[in-house]
């Protein structure tokens, strides 16, 4: 309560020289606005650079491979089989672990049309992935269970004779594949299999991703396992290493974690099981180091601005101490302690800093908003279709900027506060 009254007194003090206080506040506002928008810019370009990876869910991926065989040709190396995948899936934070299947010569037949396409295996939970949320899909993703289903690319559906994606959804398509499958320890047999699959969805790929995926069929992993020839390569490798062809696991697998924070822990656990791992994040880390550098550089420039504004606060408050010298003497004569006067001036500094920080937020936000409009107008004139987000304002930045501005200002208030606390009341009250 007592302190509140002193704070009130401090606000009263600020009201007395409105122009000077406003100019000081403006200095803090500009500095803090510069700091906010510069850090927001650094964060923004970092986010722009990382967004594609995130959108594809790649930052949540761990690529798993069995230990390199030609190093020591170890037949006892851990096998990446269903059992291993189940154990990985049981790790906390893991959403799904599935073998990576990619076959380039699957024949799809619909009516008169037969096309040789690439087939990719995906888990039936795919609808939960970020990639799925970003992709443009007509129809649905896979249903749980074992039903033979397929998702076609829009281009492939057109090639198969469907007039529109809506026509394709629900249609039955014949799928034929052939290849060598391991039969016994060192024997392979040629197999040809035909499946009838139901088209459940048609996807189209966002513009920046070309390549075979724009003309592919997505199949559930359980169906892919039945494709002949899918285990040929790992079985051969296993055989060369001195093991049994039928005991071979998968060439590689993908592990998805709930959140990229889980990534390192899960990756470590998978490594301990005896597998090799690779993540996009480890490559992103290099990029991040660069962004940290930019962040620090821009934050340093902003901090310099704020320190200069802090000097303004020191100046304003020292002036105030001198002008109110006699008043400080009165306060002391009627019972204000040195501490009360320090609090009084620190509060004035803190209030300028706090309001300056808030003003800086508003200023930084508006300036970056204008810049963003400018950037996007220019980008559109250059033929870039997407809206560019050049600045990022996460909540922590807003809070930190205001707090930082207040802290710098209070620090700037320390010297004037000490001067005020040290005023000798007798000198201050000496008769004019």
């Amino acid at each position: 309560m007592r302190i509140l009254r002193i704070v009130q007194l401090a606000l009263e003090g600020l009201r007395r020289t409105p122009l000077r206080v406003a100019l000081t506040w403006l200095g803090v506002t500009i500095a803090s606005g510069a700091l906010v928008s510069m850090v927001a810019f650094a964060l923004g370009i970092q986010r722009s650079a990382e967004t594609p990876f995130r959108a594809l869910g790649l930052v949540n991926h761990i690529q798993v491979k069995p230990e390199e065989k030609d190093e020591g040709k170890n037949p006892d190396a851990a096998v990446l089989d269903d059992d291993a995948l189940r154990r990985i899936e049981a790790l906390p934070g893991v959403v799904v672990a599935y073998p990576d299947f990619r076959v380039s010569d699957v024949k799809l037949t619909c009516g008169q049309q037969t096309k040789k396409v690439m087939a990719l295996g995906l888990p039936r939970q795919i609808s939960l992935f970020e990639m799925a949320q970003e992709a443009d899909l007509v129809g649905d993703y896979f249903t749980p269970g074992e039903a033979p289903e397929a998702i076609l690319s829009k281009r492939l559906a057109a090639e198969l004779g469907f007039e529109s994606p809506d026509d394709a959804v629900g249609a039955k398509v014949a799928l034929e594949a052939s290849g060598l499958s391991p039969e016994q320890e060192a024997t392979f047999a040629f197999q040809r299999k035909r499946f009838t699959v139901t088209v459940v969805g048609i996807y189209s790929i966002p513009h920046p991703m070309p390549g075979p995926i724009s003309r592919a069929v997505l199949l559930p992993v359980d169906l892919m396992k039945q494709i002949p020839g899918i285990r040929l390569a790992p079985a051969l490798e296993r055989l060369k290493a001195g093991g049994s062809a039928t005991a071979a696991g998968y060439e590689k697998a993908t592990v998805r974690v709930e959140h990229y924070r889980d990534l390192q822990r899960v990756e470590k656990a998978v490594k301990e099981m005896g597998f090799r791992t690779r993540t996009v994040l480890s490559r992103l880390d290099k990029m991040r180091a660069f962004f940290v550098f930019i962040d620090v550089l821009l934050a340093a420039v902003g901090t310099v601005a704020l320190v200069v504004a802090g000097l303004g606060i020191i100046n304003t408050l020292l002036m105030s101490v001198l002008e109110r010298y006699q008043e400080i003497g009165i306060y002391k004569a009627i019972g204000a302690s040195d501490g009360d006067l320090a609090v009084l001036f620190l509060t004035e500094a803190g209030v300028i800093g706090l309001l300056g920080g808030l003003g800086g937020l508003a200023l930084g936000r508006s300036v970056s908003w204008l810049l963003e409009i400018g950037v996007n107008t220019y980008a559109r004139s250059q033929g870039v279709a997407t809206d560019l987000q050049v600045f990022a304002f996460p909540l922590w930045l807003l809070v930190a900027a205001v707090a930082f501005s207040a802290v710098i200002s209070v620090l700037a208030g320390v010297y004037p506060a000490i001067r005020a606390a040290r005023v000798d009341p007798i000198r201050a009250l000496r008769r004019e």
Binding site: R2, L9, E12, I334, G335, S337, I426
Partner: protein, 237 residues
């Protein structure tokens, strides 16, 4: 008023000395003052400027510390208190009235008066009641919302007096309270000071160079010259 403690020594100074260093020269502001003031007494200290009157007042009010000697108020040796203890003593035990009023220009009369309560930590109902009582006592209730610049000199000094007594201190120190006022206004303020002293039973030490004024209200008059007490007389009641 309960007068059981009347006559008891409230202030006692012994060989009270205060020197200032001005450049290389030493200034002897007070030189071995022995002075007793009884509880509820109204003491006037006469002297020309430079005689050490204000220094004496500052020492009694705990604003300053003696170079040597002792100053005891209500049994407490002020010289032995640290800075914060002296602050507490000023906050609760002393009220100051100055020649130049020393009101805070940006605060209204009422806010100036309750300023002392702010540092005491008195709030809410009690704060409002005490402030209203003090302002009523000096007859300025109708001017409570005015700023010092809107008040006459006499009114400002009455506000200053209200500020000095709002927390009911045991000791009121007045430093030339009428020095800036014309004779008629000065008489009013002095009368008010006297009435306050009588009604509240406050011990008053008033410094002035106006002997006639002092004689009208003080119980006793002492005279300072060059930092020494030169004579003492009982004033007319």
């Amino acid at each position: 008023m309960n007068s059981a403690n009347d006559g008891e020594v409230f202030i006692e100074t012994r060989k009270l000395t205060r020197q200032y260093q001005v450049g290389s020269a030493k200034v002897q502001a007070l030189d071995g003052i022995d002075l007793n003031v009884r509880r509820r007494e109204f003491l006037a200290v006469l002297g020309v400027s430079g005689s050490g009157k204000s220094t004496l007042l500052h020492l009694l009010g705990g604003l300053d510390t003696p170079t040597s000697g002792s100053v005891c108020v209500d049994g407490r040796d002020l010289a032995s208190l640290n800075a914060y203890q002296r602050t507490l003593y000023r906050r609760t035990g002393v009220g100051f009235v100055f020649q130049s009023y020393y009101l805070v220009p940006s605060l209204t009369a009422e806010e100036n008066i309750s300023l002392a309560l702010t540092f005491q930590g008195t709030f809410g109902q009690q704060r409002r009641r005490q402030a209203a009582e003090a302002i009523r006592r000096v007859g300025l209730t109708h001017r409570a919302g005015h700023r010092p610049s809107q008040l006459s000199g006499g009114e400002q000094q009455r506000v200053a007096l209200a500020r000095a007594i709002v927390h009911a201190p045991a000791l009121l120190l007045a430093d030339e309270p009428t020095g800036n006022l014309d004779e008629a206004t000065a008489a009013e303020v002095i009368a008010l000071l006297s009435r306050t002293h009588r009604d509240l039973g406050t011990t008053v030490v008033m410094v002035t160079h106006n002997r006639e004024m002092a004689a009208r209200v003080a119980d006793r008059i002492v005279r300072l010259r060059d930092g020494r007490l030169v004579d003492e007389e009982a004033a007319a009641p």
